[in-house]
């Protein structure tokens, strides 16, 4: 069960948008995907499940399940494009501090929880995380098979990279089951000189590890406003192509992972068999 952690060093780089579109693109490629929102902003649901009928479930989410208020089966909701969504849940500040304390005390909480889901081996788990170092990021990095560090092609984003890179180094690199630390450039505009230069610098620094370059595209924002993924909203747009490239590269990387054979052609859109673990 490979885990992809979408991470970012700094807010506003479009990490949640990237995570959501990666989920639907991977789903469209025939993979079973569980999207887990580890960000207390609880924003992934706006991309994947912006349906009034699901509002209640999305407000409970992971936080409620962690507190034992609901079962995990209830917390996980079928969302757009065959993706299953575990939203973070809407909580107040005190509750958030409790959760963070709990996570800090149980470093393997996420690993145990995911293992408890007994997902089929070809299912993918995609984690959305809050920006910068946090206890959520620690949890995510401890289980990640691949990290996707989202970055804008500007100076600020480039400068803050080492902060998160050091964490990836600390929690992932040494692990035997860790695949790759990858980069994804978001909102690229080839008409801007600075964009091209930053991309050039990233290419020369990371080369193969560059997953994809998502172009600046009005369709991305519009898709969110219309509660659609980009692929549905603007199938011919550059952004759709870019996410497809990202998904393709990701799958190739996952196939190369030691011990995880995800390429055995399971193409099912049914829900994974879930069992209720004890939180």
């Amino acid at each position: 069960m490979p885990v992809i952690a979408v991470i970012g060093a700094k807010g506003g780089v479009g990490k949640t948008t990237v995570a959501a579109n990666l989920c639907t693109t991977l789903g469209a490629a025939g993979r079973r995907v569980l999207a887990v929102d580890l960000d207390p902003q609880n924003a992934l649901r706006f991309h994947l499940a912006n349906d009034p009928a699901m509002r209640e479930a999305c407000e409970a989410g992971l936080a409620a399940a962690l507190a034992g208020q609901i079962g995990w089966t209830q917390a996980i909701q079928p969302a757009r494009g065959g993706v299953l969504l575990l939203p973070f849940g809407a909580i107040d500040d005190e509750h958030q501090i409790d959760i963070e304390r709990h996570l800090a005390d149980n470093p393997d909480w996420l690993a145990d929880t995911l293992a408890g889901f007994r997902l089929p081996s070809d299912a993918l788990v995609l984690l959305d995380t809050p920006p910068g170092p946090s206890v959520y990021l620690q949890q995510a990095l401890r289980v990640a098979s691949i990290t996707v560090l989202t970055v804008l092609p500007d100076a600020g984003s480039f400068a803050t990279l080492p902060l998160v890179e050091r964490m990836v180094d600390k929690y992932c690199t040494a692990r035997g089951d860790f695949g790759a630390a990858m980069y994804l450039v978001n909102q690229f505009d080839a008409a801007k000189r600075l964009n091209r230069d930053v991309l050039q610098a990233l290419r020369s620094a990371h080369g193969d590890a560059l997953l994809s370059v998502i172009h600046q595209d009005q369709a991305v924002g519009e898709a969110l406003a219309m509660a659609l993924d980009v692929r549905r909203h603007a199938p011919h747009s550059q952004a759709t192509e870019d996410f497809a490239v990202a998904a393709r590269h990701l799958l190739a990387r996952l196939d190369a992972l030691p011990g995880t054979s995800v390429s055995d052609g399971f193409r099912a859109s049914g829900a994974p068999h879930q069992r209720q673990p004890a939180p």
Binding site: Q218, A219, Q238, T240, E241
Partner: protein
């Protein structure tokens, strides 16, 4: 380590020769047995048995891949053809009247010529060297300095611009490459452009010796160790210099490295016959096979462009040769005579525009033909010092090749001698002719299609030659008689064919031959009735030959039917991904279908409502890099859109050239990679083209006739001759 210190040696050669004793024995057997096989007279029955046996052997050999079976097939072909030629000369020339003798000798001359060219061709292409590039020294500080010459005379700036910009993008240390535009037109526009873009604009106060003189004048004012020469419309790739210069480091006596001339637009044959990308074009045989074959014998010659020359050696032979109009081949000949080497790399590293119209194509070939015959007359490679025998033979074949004009016309009319006049040009029975001539033809075609299959399809050679035969016959004859006569003509580039039209001027020779052959068919049918009942087989043989000639001539006529070229700037077919970025921030992935310096034709995945002149950006890609250009909509119909670029900076223009013209990745996929096609399919294809040619021709003359016969339209003040419309 300096650039040219590495040990010199030739690239991989054929397998080492076998033991000396074995060689002597083989030669002895060959020299004794072969003449016997060639000259032994035989009855029809014996000759048939022998021919069939040898042909079966060739067919069996042809089933095995590799070069040794090819050499064996060449050997069999030479034996069979020699036997035919011997029989032809000794047995079939007993003419009892003058007409037979004159016409018969004409055919014999054509056949001897074809036989010689066949033999020389085998020598030339027996073992293409397939030389690979060698790497340059690791430290670019050791790389030599290069002067890039781009000679131009009357071509428009829009043609030259991409070449200069692409030359600037070549990967070579900036301080070791200098670019010179050699402008024999002395144009202010060019000076301004060169200054703006940062290259040197070179002029001289006269135009003596045209391109050769232009380059020689520039040689005097420059000092780079190597000189790279590009015709002004040959856009080099970034890798050109790194690919082309490696061998100079290996071989200090290497004077020149030539790379292919690749054309990314359709030549007139391809355009008018609709064969672009499906049938190997005229140049592919030469650059794909012949130059590579020459390279084995150290006889590759300079072709005027897409080549690098070593300055010291070039200067030692007196610069670019000025005595003939093919200065390039002559310069290489001088280098070889002086004991220097040349090399060929069969990797397209530059691409240009093909000639626009058939008439300019013919003009170019006339120049080549005249020049080669001039060299033949003034500096004959068979004579003089310094050349090895294979070099002499390769050069002589390159020159003899251009004498095909008369033989080709003889072939196209030979059966008429019998059909029209009852002249018997080959004094032998039809069965004997079958038994000797067919094996000769079958072996030659089988062997050549094995050697040339990827670069030239069977029978196409005859189409290419038949179109040009008459036009190069006269200048080559003149040059043979007096090499100083005849004027120099520049190949026109960047012309615009306003309307589809039938080039009656160029087709005239083909039309004349066609008319003769039609008369021949009529005469043949007449002979089939009661007139010639004793020789029905001979009549059929000549009729079949005439029909074949009609097919070839039909294709020639089709080639003269110029298709229309829609826009002013060259539009070149190119399918690469692109992205449109609209003013409202949306984008659309699409593909280009053609491009020019002015704009792009795009194929969209879905229709989009966008008015003409709407501004947008378009992204093009080259490997990992992306370039975005401002443009506006020219037309937008259905899923097709044409966009026009906004004015660009030089940097943007350079990027555009890198994304479009200077792309070896796209050319290499096409070049020399044609699938082998069976003979009957090739014949079928040519026959279809030929039928279209006839239709166009009759259509053209039908319209012309009806215009002539119909009274002029009302409104003309002139009184109309009263003529009955028919």
């Amino acid at each position: 380590m300096s650039f040219s210190n590495a040990a010199a040696h030739r690239p991989e050669s054929p397998p080492p020769p076998p033991h000396r004793l074995f060689r002597v024995a083989a030669w002895a057997v060959t020299l004794i047995a072969l003449p016997a096989v060639i000259i032994t007279p035989m009855t029809l029955h014996q000759q048939l048995t022998l021919s069939i046996a040898i042909f079966i052997a060739a067919l069996v050999l042809n089933r095995f891949p590799g070069r040794i079976p090819t050499l064996a097939m060449i050997f069999l072909s030479v034996v069979v053809s020699s036997r035919y030629m011997y029989w032809r000369i000794t047995e079939t020339m007993y003419m009892d009247n003058l007409l037979d003798l004159v016409l018969g000798s004409g055919l014999l001359v054509a056949e001897v010529y074809a036989f010689l060219v066949l033999l020389l061709g085998y020598i030339q292409t027996a073992w293409p060297l397939e030389r690979k590039p060698v790497p340059l020294p690791a430290d670019s500080a050791d790389w030599p300095t290069v002067d890039v010459f781009i000679p131009t005379y009357n071509e428009s700036l829009s043609v030259v611009r991409p070449t200069v910009l692409a030359a600037q993008s070549m990967d070579w240390p900036r301080d070791k490459v200098r670019i010179f535009v050699l402008d024999d037109g002395r144009r202010e526009e060019f000076r301004v452009f060169c200054e703006g873009v940062g290259v040197t604009h070179v002029t001289r106060d006269n135009n003596r010796h045209a391109k050769a003189g232009n380059i020689n004048a520039a040689l005097k004012n420059t000092d780079g160790e190597f000189v790279a020469i590009f015709d002004c419309d040959h856009t080099p790739t970034r890798s050109f210099l790194q690919i082309a210069l490696g061998w100079f480091g290996r071989d200090p006596k290497l004077g020149m490295v030539q790379t292919p001339h690749y054309f990314f637009s359709a030549d007139p044959f391809e355009k008018n016959l609709g064969t672009f990308g499906t049938v190997p074009n005229e140049g592919e045989l030469f650059y794909g096979l012949i130059q590579d074959g020459n390279d084995l014998w150290n006889a590759t010659f300079f072709c005027g462009s897409c080549a690098v020359l070593r300055r010291t050696i070039l200067e030692e032979v007196g610069g670019i040769a000025v005595e003939t109009v093919t200065e390039d081949a002559h310069t290489a000949l001088k280098m070889h005579r002086a004991g220097y080497n040349t090399a060929y790399l069969a990797l397209p590293q530059a691409a240009g525009l093909a000639t626009e119209s058939l008439s300019s194509h013919v003009g170019q070939r006339i120049r080549w033909a005249r020049g080669m015959i001039q060299i033949f007359r003034t500096d004959n490679p068979l004579l003089g010092r310094g050349l090895t025998w294979p070099q002499r033979l390769c050069y002589i074949n390159a020159m003899l090749h251009f004498l095909y004009g008369l033989p080709r016309m003889i072939y196209l009319t030979a059966p008429l001698a019998y059909l029209l006049f009852g002249a018997s040009v080959i004094h032998a029975s039809a069965p004997m002719i079958f038994a000797y001539a067919l094996p000769h033809l079958f072996h030659a075609n089988l062997t050549n299609s094995r050697i040339q299959g990827r670069f030239r399809y069977l029978f196409w050679n005859e189409v290419y030659e038949a179109v040009l035969a008459w036009y190069i016959f006269r200048p080559t004859l003149v040059a043979l008689i007096n090499p100083k006569l005849g004027s120099f003509n520049v190949t026109a580039k960047g012309g615009l064919i306003q309307e589809q039209y039938f080039d009656t001027q160029i087709a005239k020779a083909s039309l004349f031959l066609l008319a003769l052959n039609f008369i021949g068919v009529a005469a043949g049918l007449w002979r089939l009735t009661w007139v010639d009942s004793d020789n029905i087989l001979t009549v059929w043989l000549n009729l079949a030959w005439t029909f074949y000639n009609l097919m070839i001539l039909g294709a020639c006529v089709a080639a003269a039917n110029e298709s229309r070229q829609v826009r002013g700037a060259h539009r070149v077919t190119l399918r690469v991904p692109a992205t449109l970025h609209f003013a409202d921030g949306h984008s659309m992935r699409c593909h280009t279908f053609d491009f020019s310096s002015g704009g792009l034709g795009l194929e969209l995945p879905a229709e989009i409502a966008l008015p003409d002149a709407a501004p947008l950006d378009v992204s093009l890609y080259r490997g990992e890099s992306e370039h975005r250009f401002a443009a506006s909509v020219r037309f937008n119909r259905g899923k097709r859109m044409g966009i026009q670029f906004e004015p660009m900076s030089f940097a943007e223009e350079r990027a555009l050239v890198q994304c479009t013209t200077a792309r070896a990745d796209i050319w290499a996929a096409r070049w020399g990679n044609h699938p082998r096609v069976a003979a009957h399919k090739v014949i079928g294809h040519i026959a279809r083209i030929s039928l279209v040619g006839f239709r166009e021709m009759f259509g053209h003359y039908g319209r012309a006739l009806s215009r002539k016969l119909r009274p002029a339209p009302a409104g003309g003040a002139r009184p109309v001759n009263a003529k009955e419309p028919t």
